[in-house]
């Protein structure tokens, strides 16, 4: 399983998995895309490169989510990506399309730290979890 959505009364809570943090974040992109796409199939026609730096791993995750949301609000719907994490920084190549090509898209208000988790379950299994304010 790459990612899953969990119960949360008001907002959207999800988990993503991977063999390292970079892969977890790549699966975070898929979860984020599902929230925004609302059933639309997004065609990857555009590429955006981003780099994000945090003060620790959680702040890196928070800022990464915030960056995805900032791009979404600016009209870029992400559908997948490649992520490289080094320390508390990451560089990502995002694939997606212009929001104008779709209808009925979803919206995220903000990333949050609520119930945020980043844990290494075993040598090759990481888990990240976050709640988005929608």
């Amino acid at each position: 399983m790459k990612y899953e959505f969990l119960e949360h009364t008001a907002d959207v809570k999800f988990r993503a998995y991977g063999k390292n943090l970079g892969e977890c974040f790549e699966n975070v992109i898929l979860a984020f895309s599902e929230i925004i796409a609302k059933g639309n199939k997004i065609t990857p026609t555009e590429v955006r490169n981003i780099s994000v730096k945090g003060i620790d791993k959680k702040s890196l995750f928070y800022k990464f989510l915030e960056e995805l949301n900032y791009l979404a609000e600016g009209g870029f719907v992400v559908c997948s990506g490649k992520v490289n994490v080094t320390g508390n920084s990451l560089k990502a190549k995002l694939y997606g399309d212009s929001a104008g090509n779709y209808s009925g898209l979803g919206e995220v208000k903000a990333a949050t730290y609520a119930e945020m988790r980043i844990s290494k379950k075993s040598a090759k299994r990481w888990l990240v979890q976050a709640v988005l304010d929608v």
């Binding site: 949360h8 059933g39 900032y70 919206e107």
Partner: protein, 464 residues
């Protein structure tokens, strides 16, 4: 006493928790993290007397939604998590001189409003603001909009803080927040934000209803929205700034990161928050203007006036009775409404003798209420009451259990017209996903923290 549940002060809590709820609503709160969040807030430095949850409370981030707390101005802290991401998310109620029985074509009218008021994801503003104009919006809120011709003075006089929170310096707003806000002024947004045409269905207090200009059978319009991306960005910016400068060690929840009210950073956050609040006030003022322009085509003699406009995600300096005397404190209301009783200077002059109007929206397809603030709320809850129905079911559970067709059919059987840009949104916001607003209002009324004045029944709903 019924409807009051105390959470004993334990561990690192500096004060006890107080939950205003019926037994049924309290049981619902036990099912998620509401009570844990009430306890977390009780640990914040400078909190006075109690950490409160309102009858519609549910799990949030940092504070629960429906959380209220007051802080000592000298020793206390301010946390973006006590205000929320949607700074000054708020509700405005408009009254009209239309009788619901005189109007048959709500469907056509709603569709026209839908085209006139930008709503939903990616629907941008009709305005092109210069940087200088955006600064004016951030400093002067609804008063800026009225000066520009989008409304009349009475509109902002009937708005909390006269539509302009003091102390907002646009220099404290980041470029990114500005960029997000610039194209969104005068838009409704998505999620639980809505515009609803209603009718005054039942009057509980004739005298006060008359003071608020509300008559049985007359049409009202309710607008629920906030500060859009600009406010969300302000919250994120200052959460990160506080993490960097103050740190997160020892916090029960990172969303409760905070700064002393008297510190430079605390002051900057409050300034930025005021700017975002002003953006939200201006936002609703523009929407009001577009509603007026549009409805004139259908009813040339229509009169549309603002009953009141309440903030439900905000921090404010207010005077309250503490330790035997009036004292200025910082009250944070996150998903809660100010409900001041008669006589307070903050209430518009023409309502001052009866108390502040409290606008309490129901969920989609259910009734909304106008309450009046009381002296009792000033005693019990820092002059606050509930802000709406409050979610009960998660969005994913709603999607599993409900379908858009059924929700629409049910509403249409009750004669309620619905227009929405998103099918998924209809299911997520269905009445079944919310607590029973009648129960929330009953608890507020029984406790006396907000007394019932009128009930409003929905006729037509526009969802973002």
């Amino acid at each position: 006493m019924g409807n009051i549940h105390e959470i004993k002060q334990t561990g690192k809590m500096l004060v006890p928790g107080i939950v205003f709820a019926s037994d049924k609503l309290f049981e619902d709160m036990k099912k998620d993290k509401t009570l844990e969040q009430v306890k977390n807030v009780a640990q914040l430095p400078g909190i006075i007397d109690k950490s409160i949850a309102m009858p519609d409370a549910h799990e949030g981030y940092g504070f629960c939604i429906g959380g209220v707390a007051a802080f000592d101005v000298e020793k206390g802290v301010v946390s973006p998590g006590g205000v929320g991401y949607d700074i000054n998310c708020s509700v405005r109620l408009l009254r009209t001189n239309l009788k619901s029985s005189d109007v048959k074509n709500w469907k056509e009218i709603l569709h026209s409003l839908f085209r006139c008021v930008p709503s939903g994801v990616g629907q941008g503003s009709k305005l092109k603001l210069s940087d200088a104009e955006l600064n004016e919006v951030l400093s002067n809120g609804a008063q800026w909009a009225v000066e520009k011709g989008y409304g009349v003075k009475e509109d902002y006089l009937h708005t909390e803080d006269e539509g302009r929170l003091n102390g907002g310096n646009p220099k404290d707003i980041s470029q990114r927040a500005r960029a997000r806000g610039k194209g969104q002024l005068g838009t409704l947004g998505a999620g639980n934000h809505f515009l609803e045409i209603q009718v005054v269905d039942e009057v509980f207090d004739e005298e006060i209803a008359k003071t608020f200009g509300l008559k049985k059978g007359e049409v009202t319009i309710m607008v629920h929205c906030g500060s859009r991306g600009l406010g969300h960005q302000v919250a994120s910016d200052y959460i990160q700034e506080m993490e960097k400068k103050i740190g997160v060690a020892g916090l029960p929840d990172r969303e409760l990161v905070n700064a002393p009210i008297k510190s430079e950073l605390g002051g900057k956050y409050l300034s930025a928050m005021a700017c975002a609040a002003n953006f939200a006030f201006a936002n609703k003022q523009l929407i009001t203007h577009w509603i007026r322009e549009d409805l004139k085509h259908y009813f040339p003699k229509i009169k549309i006036e603002v009953v009141y406009d309440v903030c439900h995600n905000i921090a404010k300096f207010e005077k309250h009775f503490v330790d035997g005397h009036d004292k200025e404190v910082l009250v944070m209301r996150k998903g809660a409404t100010r409900a001041f009783g008669p006589g307070r200077a903050e209430i518009p002059a023409d309502y001052r003798s009866v108390g502040q109007p409290v606008i309490l929206p129901g969920s989609m397809g259910t009734s909304s209420y106008v309450l009046v603030g009381t002296k009792e709320s000033e005693k019990l809850s820092w002059g606050s009451t509930a802000h709406g129905a409050g979610r009960l079911m998660s969005r994913s559970a709603a999607k599993k259990k409900l379908n858009a067709g059924d929700v629409k059919r049910k509403m249409s059987e009750q004669g309620i017209i619905l227009e929405s840009g998103s099918t998924a949104g209809i299911v997520e916001e269905a009445a079944e996903a919310y607590k029973d607003v009648d129960e929330v209002v009953r608890v507020s009324d029984e406790l006396g923290i907000g007394k019932m004045v009128v009930r409003l029944k929905p006729l037509a709903v526009m969802k973002g």
